[in-house]
Every structure is written in structure tokens, then in C-alpha cells.
């Protein structure tokens, strides 16, 4: 008799659970996607900007053969190598923060070498990902 009561209890709980689970699954998907889109867009915007800047710079530097420019070119090439290897659209990449910090560091170096102010609306600081 007691067993039967406990079972009924479980059964009601289970019934609610199943309904809640389905609801929760779709809610989790929606919520997760919202956060994900926001963070992905932030990374995409930053990396895209680096790409655009670096490729355009390389193109502008091309053909110039002074010693100073060849040093710039070297740093630029290594920067391009870094951002090309960076899997910006993969949130499961475990070295995301590490790599991003390295890229940002390299970018700062490049900026001072090219004598440009990195002021194009990237809030590099404070845009650390948290999820």
C-alpha cells in the first residue's frame, strides 16, 4: 500500500517533469542562442576588423622595399598568420581566450609600428567572454 502511494507520487512528479523538460529544452535553446549570438558577433566583429585592416595594410605596403617597411611587413605577416589560424566561429575551442589575448597583443604591437591609433570602435578591453 505504501509502495503504491509512493509510486503515485513519483508518477505525478514524472508527469510534470516530462512536460517541464520539453518546455525547458526549447527555452534553453532560445536563451542560449541569444547569448551565443551576442558573443559570437562580438568576436566576429573584432576578428573581422583585424582581418580587413591587416589585408588592406599588406596590400598598401606591398612593393615598398625599405628596411623599415620590411620589418612592418614581417610583423604584419605574423599577425595575419595568427588571425587566419584562429577559429573565431568555434565556441568550443578551448584556447579561445589565450589566443585572443595573443592576437590583441600582437595587434597593439602592429599599431605602434604602423603608427596608427587603434580607435576604430573596438572595445578590446572589457570584451572578455564569459559563458
Amino acid at each position: 500500500m505504501f509502495d503504491a502511494i509512493v509510486m503515485v507520487d513519483e508518477r505525478f512528479h514524472g508527469e510534470g517533469y516530462q512536460e517541464g523538460y520539453e518546455e525547458g529544452s526549447s527555452l534553453g535553446m532560445i536563451e542560449g542562442k541569444q547569448y551565443g549570438t551576442f558573443h559570437g558577433a562580438k568576436i566576429g566583429s573584432e576578428i573581422g576588423c583585424y582581418q580587413g585592416l591587416a589585408f588592406a595594410r599588406r596590400c598598401l605596403l606591398h612593393g615598398s622595399a625599405t628596411e623599415k617597411d620590411s620589418k612592418k611587413m614581417k610583423v604584419l605577416e605574423s599577425f595575419i598568420g595568427m588571425i587566419q589560424k584562429f577559429p573565431y566561429a568555434d565556441p568550443t575551442y578551448d584556447k579561445l581566450h589565450e589566443d585572443l589575448d595573443r592576437i590583441r597583443g600582437k595587434f597593439k604591437q602592429l599599431c605602434s609600428l604602423l603608427n596608427v591609433q587603434p580607435d576604430f570602435k573596438i572595445s578590446a578591453e572589457g570584451s572578455r567572454l564569459s559563458y
Binding site: 503515485v8 507520487d9 505525478f12 512528479h13 508527469e15 510534470g16 517533469y17 516530462q18 512536460e19 517541464g20 523538460y21 520539453e22 518546455e23 525547458g24 529544452s25 526549447s26 527555452l27 534553453g28 535553446m29 532560445i30 536563451e31 542560449g32 542562442k33 541569444q34 547569448y35 551565443g36 549570438t37 551576442f38 558573443h39 559570437g40 558577433a41 562580438k42 568576436i43 566576429g44 566583429s45 573584432e46 576578428i47 573581422g48 576588423c49 583585424y50 582581418q51 580587413g52 585592416l53 591587416a54 589585408f55 588592406a56 595594410r57 596590400c59 598598401l60 606591398h62 573565431y88 566561429a89 568555434d90 565556441p91 568550443t92 604602423l114 603608427n115 596608427v116 576604430f120 570602435k121
Partner: protein, 226 residues
């Protein structure tokens, strides 16, 4: 939940017994207690289920949204970076201020475009109000209606999603139409494209700017995939 309703219906004739019968009164009380207990158990289960379901899909949703956001927005970032490079090149070579202000305008336009697209990417998913709705319906003891409402919401979500997907495709890949006429099917876009310069327009302007500056046209080569 329907099972629970049926169970309580079967039990209800007990309440119609003689009101002066003391035994019957007591059993009705017990039944009421039992029913409210069961209801509590169902609700507890529901909450546990919500948490468990969310925990499973939250990361999955995050990953999906992340990828989508990164892949769409990177194009705008590239354009912004290219324009920034042109801007500093202009400063370095003392170009006319007219060109410099033009580049600044284009940069602003890219920023607007980016913001706009991001807003729409995020609005693919409406605010999570379904659970509140269901909760209040449950409190009102109208459980039979809940599944129907849910379905309507899901159907809506899918429709919005499709529209937005179309919109993304059109805005980021299909450059043939400047005014993106397919935007009209979307929810809040009636006045949108008059306020927002299209990416095609920005690209065209950038290309003509590059020619004016006399820098190699190759500079825009990496933007081809836009």
C-alpha cells in the same frame, strides 16, 4: 496532465453525497488534500523538468548562436577594418579632408549596418515568455489549453526564424538588389531599410574611393566574399 484531470474527475462524485453525512465530509476533505498534494507534485516535477531541459540545451543553443553571429558579423568587421586602413593611409599621405570625411561617413554606415543586423539576429528568438504564460495557465487550472498555445508559439518562432534566415542570406550574400526587397516579409522592417544604408552601397562607395585614392584595387579582394 490529462491523466491527472481524469483521475480527479473520477473521484468527484464523492462530493455529491449527503452533506450531513460526517464520514463523507471527511473523505471529501481528504480527497481535496490529496488532489492538492498531487497538483503540487506535478508542479514540482514541472519545475525540475524545466531546469533539466534548460541545462541540456543551453550550451547547444549558445554554440549555434555563437557560430551564426560570428560568421555573419565578421563580414562587417572586415569592411570596417579595410576602411580604417584606408583612413590611416589618407592621414599619412595628407589627402584632402573631403575624402577623409567620406571614409568616416562610410565607417559610420558600416557600424549602423552591423548594429542593425545584430539586432535582427538576436530577435530571431522572441523573449522567453512562454513559460510565464504556461505557468499562469496552470495556476488558472486551464491545462488543456496550454499545449495549443505552445504550438502556436512554436510555429511563430519557426516562421520568424525562416524570415530572418532569408534576410541574413540576402543582406550578407546576395548583393544584386540594393534595397533588399525581400526584407519586407520581416516583422519590424517596414521603415528599416530607408534608415540603414545597405552593404552593397557601402561596398560600391568604398570601391570608388579606392580608385580615387589611387591605391591598388586588390585592397578590396578579401572583401569579395561579402
Amino acid at each position: 496532465m490529462s491523466w491527472f484531470r481524469a483521475a480527479s474527475l473520477v473521484q468527484s462524485p464523492g462530493e455529491e453525497r449527503d452533506v450531513f453525512d460526517e464520514e463523507a465530509d471527511e473523505s471529501a476533505l481528504v480527497q481535496r488534500e490529496w488532489r492538492s498534494h498531487m497538483q503540487r507534485r506535478v508542479q514540482e516535477g514541472y519545475r525540475d523538468g524545466i531546469d533539466a531541459g534548460k541545462a541540456v540545451t543551453l550550451q547547444q543553443g549558445f554554440n549555434q548562436g555563437y557560430k551564426e553571429g560570428a560568421e555573419v558579423i565578421i563580414n562587417y568587421g572586415q569592411l570596417r577594418g579595410t576602411l580604417s586602413a584606408l583612413l590611416s593611409w589618407c592621414h599619412l599621405h595628407d589627402n584632402s579632408s573631403a575624402l577623409i570625411s567620406k571614409i568616416n561617413n562610410l565607417l559610420d554606415a558600416v557600424g549602423q549596418c552591423e548594429e542593425y543586423v545584430l539586432r535582427h539576429l538576436k530577435s530571431i528568438t522572441p523573449q522567453p515568455h512562454v513559460v510565464d504564460l504556461l505557468d499562469s495557465i496552470q495556476d488558472m487550472d486551464l491545462c488543456h489549453i496550454a499545449p495549443a498555445e505552445e504550438k502556436i508559439d512554436e510555429a511563430k518562432d519557426e516562421r520568424f526564424y525562416e524570415n530572418n534566415a532569408d534576410f541574413n542570406k540576402n543582406c550578407s550574400k546576395n548583393l544584386s538588389g540594393v534595397d533588399c526587397s525581400s526584407l519586407k516579409c520581416c516583422r519590424t522592417q517596414e521603415h528599416a531599410h530607408s534608415e540603414n544604408p545597405s552593404l552593397t552601397w557601402i561596398l560600391e562607395q568604398t570601391a570608388s574611393l579606392v580608385k580615387q585614392l589611387g591605391v591598388p584595387v586588390d585592397i578590396l579582394q578579401h572583401l569579395k566574399q561579402l
